[in-house]
Each structure stands twice: as C-alpha cells, then as structure tokens.
Amino acid sequence: MSLSNKIKAIITVAFFNVCGLMSWQAFAASAVPDAAAGKIKAKTCFSCHGENGMGIAPSVPNIAAQPPLALFYQLVQFREDMRKGGDMEKFAKPFSDNDIRDIAAYFSALPAPPAIPGDAAKISIGKQIAQQQYCNSCHAPQFQGQKQVSRLAGQSKDYFITQLRNIRSGARVDMDGTMGSAARGVSDEQMDALAEYAASLP
C-alpha cells in the first residue's frame, strides 16, 4: 500500500469513526486472526500435521482447509481437557485464545486435501448412508464443513472411523449431543462406508 493510499485509508476510517457509521465488520476487526503469525505459532503442529496440514499417518487428521472455527473449537477443547487424543491436550496447553485463532487461520487457508480414491461400490453405499443420516445438514453438501462443524472431505479414513466410533461410544463428547445421537444409529460397516465416501470427496 502506498503512503498516499495509507493516508486515504486512515482518513476514511477516521471519517467513519467520527460519523459513527463504521460498519460492524470494521467494528469487530480488532480481533482479526493472523494466518502469517499462525504459521509461526503452528511450528509444533507440523511434525504430525505437516506444514501443508496433511497428517503424516492415517491416525492423524488432515486439518488443511478446515473451517477456522472448527479448528478453534477442537483446539480449545484439547487445551481445556474436554477432548483427549494424540497428546493433543499437551500440545494445546501453551496456546492462548488468540494463538489458536491465528493457528486456525493458517491451516484453514491451506489448499484442501486431495480426494482419496477408494472402492467405488463402498463409496456409493457411503453416499447413500450419508443421505439417510442427514450428515450434510451440518457438515455441508460437499462435506466441506461450516462454522464449528468440521470438514470431512478428504479426511483420513482411519481417523474418521476412530472419531466416529469414539463419538458413538461417548469417549468423545460433542457439545450439544447432536453428533452423539447421530452416531448412535450407525454400525461399524456403515462407518467404514461413510469414511470411504468422505475421503473420496475433493
């Protein structure tokens, strides 16, 4: 930004301040997460989740392109010992709320995980089950996630199945009980098919 543009911007902001017309977005802008700062803070994450947000092993989730709020939500739960697994509760401990927002901003802005090819018949069954179970009503039509609801598209099948089973057993508790209720009616075979389908989505 050139100096004159900067001055213009400052004057514009001042104008709207004075007039009390500042938009809500600008009003709330004090807490805009910083993806660049997030990348620096996320250094400890890279050894397992990769700099590109792709898990290095099937048990490690792909966190690239997750909705930022979904990442924030899970990291806070790890930090507060409300969710456990993969020593994440230890890794999350040092981070402040703002650190977590920055880290979430970094990973959410990364390119989405590539679709993972799988067994076509299984994928088709998984798609059918997903429709019956209304998964997309929260996880969004292409399983891309929204708000605090995680992205499932391109997720590691191994991780997907483990989590869904944990939610079904109650080992992992969701906040309002919806996901627990949803998982209760899903069999192991259905979970496998759902994982195959979710992984296959770009």
Partner: protein, 419 residues
C-alpha cells in the same frame, strides 16, 4: 412401505429408552445384512432420530446451531456501548472473563453464583467494596447449568446429577467435595442440561428434563418439569409436554411457577412460537410433541390429535427467539410500571435465516395476571446478522438493579435506573 415405516416408528417410540432406539434398530437391521449388499434406501420421510422433523427438501444446510462458546471474550470485544435501554436506564459491564456465564443465583449475603453449560465451570462473583472479584470455584463438571442457593449451600444441577456444596461462601477458594443428592436422572446429552430454581418455601428444587431430540415422541421420563423434595429426596413430575424449559421463576404473591419453553426446530421460519407458561396446577400438559404454542398441531406427530387436549401457554414470544432465564421484577429501583413485570433473556435464533432474539424482553401483566404487553427491554447484541453476545439469564439484585448474563461473551452486565 409407508405403512411399514409407520409401524417401525411406533415400535421405536414405545420404548422407554427412547426415540434413539429407533435409529439403533434400523442400524442393527443394516448390520445384519450381507456385507456387500448396498444399504437399503431410507424409507421416505423417516430420517434418523436426531434429525426427526427435518425434510430432505426443506433442509437448509446453512442453518446449523450456533457454536457453543468455550472461551470468554476480552473486555475489548464487549461492545457495551452498543446496548440500548429505555430512557433513564443505564447498562454497564459488571463482570467478565467468565466463559459461557449463564444461569445466576444470588445468596442472601450478596455472592452471585453463575453456572455454565459448556466449559464445566461454576463461578462466584464476590463484592469487594466498589469492585468485584470473579472466582472460578468449580471446574470439570458436566454441563453445570443449574445453580440454586439455600441454607448456606450451593446446589448445582449437572446434566444428570444434583450436587450440594455446603458452607460454600466460607470456602470459595477451596470448595468442599460435593454431596451428590440425586443422580438418577437421564443421561441424554440433547436438552440434558438443567435450569434449576429453589421453590419459595425452600423445600423443592425445580428443574426440567428436556426432550432428547428436536421432535420425537419422547420417553415418558422426558419433556417435563420435575421437582426434588430436599427433605425426602423424592422426585415428582409437575408438568408434562414441555419440550425444554431453560428458565423459570416463581411469581411473588401467587407463588406460581412461570417458565419459558423452547419450540421445535425445522418447522418454519415463524412457527412454532417459543412460549411463556404458567403452572397453575401440577400435572399440566403443555402439548409437546403433539401440539405446539397451544394452538398449532405438529405437522406430523399432531395427526389425529387436537390442541384442545392440552394446556395453553400464557404468551407467544416469537419463533426461534430462544427464551432462557426469566425473572419477575421484585426490586424498587425501576419505575413503578416495571413492578411485577417479567424479564426474559432471549439467547437468539439459529434455525431461522434472519436472526431474531438476542435481547432481553419485558412482559407486562394486567390486573388479572394476564400478559398484555411484550416489548424489547435491552437490545444491541445483534448487529445486522452478526451477534457479539447472547443473553442467557437475568437476576434482580437486592438493590433493585438487574444483571444480565451473556453466555456468548462470558460477561455480566448491570442495568440500573436513575431519574
């Protein structure tokens, strides 16, 4: 196919342990199918239990429950100057840094106890002269949304247990281990958190057992308001057909219980209304899941039923406004016309494309004790379609001022009046 799906359904619904069995039953059928066989197509109009009430064509994927607040907002993000009150009233920040501050109760000596739904904390706000100190006195509880105070003890309602912390005010920094006074409550997570209120005679704790899904025929144990006798430890049911009441108060004078009730979701932008209700006698039935808002039959479960079978609400509050805590105004600070009014904290909508609620409303009763006016009292948490806070409960302090807890921002505001 239609016929068999109906019979499947009544089978599932007839089980005490709930609608949730239905989904398990269906999945058991799937599990027994030969491995490579494709899953059978879902019978039309039979979504899994958790999603009952949604239709495939009417489903709007952009509507998802608002995120559950897990952290408190810094003071710099509490836009108290955006809060609007009627002339003469002042709103100020009273306490902050209390993640998901929700239900409030004040002890006779002036300690405010605050329950939470998500972080598992209970807070105490202690007066220190002109300032206040916020203490996190309990941690790691399971949905400790309900708080009440009696005889020096703090009662906390978790999702499925009622706890008592004796002599709490002398031990805020090191609370005693709780006495578990009741632990035989359902463990369903959906609508499992409690709002709890001590009866005026001090003998009972009243709280709700919400329905375990959006819209199902619930087990007979659910969708009710119950009371626990503190002397006998006997639990009895006082109201049925209440989907989920997360706010209640006894009217001074009549000692009748009034309560808010959350209407079902996924039935439309403006239907059904959330309601304000009065328990004129025990065992009243307010209609869920068959009749909503006293006069609107459920599109599916209401078939063959009539709203005449059920008791009516006192007032419709609007659809999806999400009324939580409510109090009768018992103080002397506000102008005379506010005496005996009901104030209700509206947490705000998620299942509606244009947001509503996110405010504290005022209900005026006439001489016959009937609501005659419903109007906004404090607004401003919702700016356009963005909210920065969500009112969760109100509490009238001894000086006549009113506190509003903000479950989203983790803060408490104080409303006072001066001519």
């Amino acid at each position: 196919m239609q016929k068999s799906s109906v019979s499947l359904r009544s089978l599932g619904f007839s089980k005490l342990l709930g609608g949730l069995i239905l989904a398990g039953f269906v999945s058991a059928v799937h599990a027994q199918a030969p491995a490579p066989a494709p899953a059978p197509a879902a019978p039309a109009g039979l979504p899994p239990t958790w999603a009952q009430g949604r239709t495939a064509d009417g489903m709007n994927p952009t509507l998802v429950p608002n995120p559950s607040p897990l952290v408190a907002k810094p003071v710099s993000e509490l836009f108290v100057n955006k809060l609007k009150a009627p002339p003469g009233f002042k709103v100020e920040l009273w306490a902050s840094g209390m993640a998901n501050a929700r239900s409030m109760t004040e002890s006779p000596s002036g300690t405010l106890f605050v329950g939470t739904r998500f972080p598992g904390n209970v807070y105490a706000v202690v007066n220190k002269g002109d300032t206040r100190e916020v203490k996190t006195i309990l941690k790691g509880l399971h949905r400790p949304n309900g708080v009440a105070f009696a005889n020096g003890s703090l009662y906390v309602a978790e999702l499925s247990r009622i706890l008592r912390y004796d002599n709490i005010e002398k031990n805020l920094d090191n609370p005693p281990a709780p006495v578990v006074i009741f632990d035989a409550l359902p463990k369903d997570e959906p609508h499992g958190w409690k709002y709890m209120k001590l009866s005026p005679d001090g003998k009972y704790l009243y709280f709700q057992i919400g329905t375990p899904a959006n819209i199902i025929v619930p087990p007979a144990t659910h969708a009710a308001i119950v009371r626990l006798n503190l002397q006998t430890n006997i639990l009895d049911y006082v109201a049925y057909g209440v989907r989920n009441s997360v706010g209640m108060d006894f009217q001074p004078g009549t000692n009748e219980l009034w309560f808010t009730n959350m209407g079902r979701d996924w039935a439309g932008e403006d239907l059904p209304n959330d309601t304000l209700n009065k328990l004129a006698r025990t065992k009243m039935n307010f209609g869920y899941p068959f009749c909503h808002q006293g006069d609107w039959l459920d599109p599916e479960l209401g078939k063959g039923r009539s709203c005449d079978e059920f008791d009516k609400p006192e007032l419709k509050l609007g659809a999806h406004v999400a009324p939580l805590g409510m109090r009768f105004y018992t103080g002397k600070m506000f102008p005379a016309e506010y005496k005996g009014n009901i104030f209700i904290a509206e947490y705000g909508s998620w299942n509606r494309t244009k947001k509503v609620g996110y405010q504290v409303v005022r209900v005026v009763l006439d001489a016959k004790n009937k609501p005659v006016k419903l109007e906004p009292f404090i607004t401003g948490w919702l700016q356009g379609e963005e909210y920065w806070g969500r009112p969760a409960d109100v509490q009238v302090l001894k000086d006549g001022s009113m506190l509003i807890s903000d479950g989203e921002a983790g803060a408490i505001y104080r409303v006072s009046y001066a001519k």
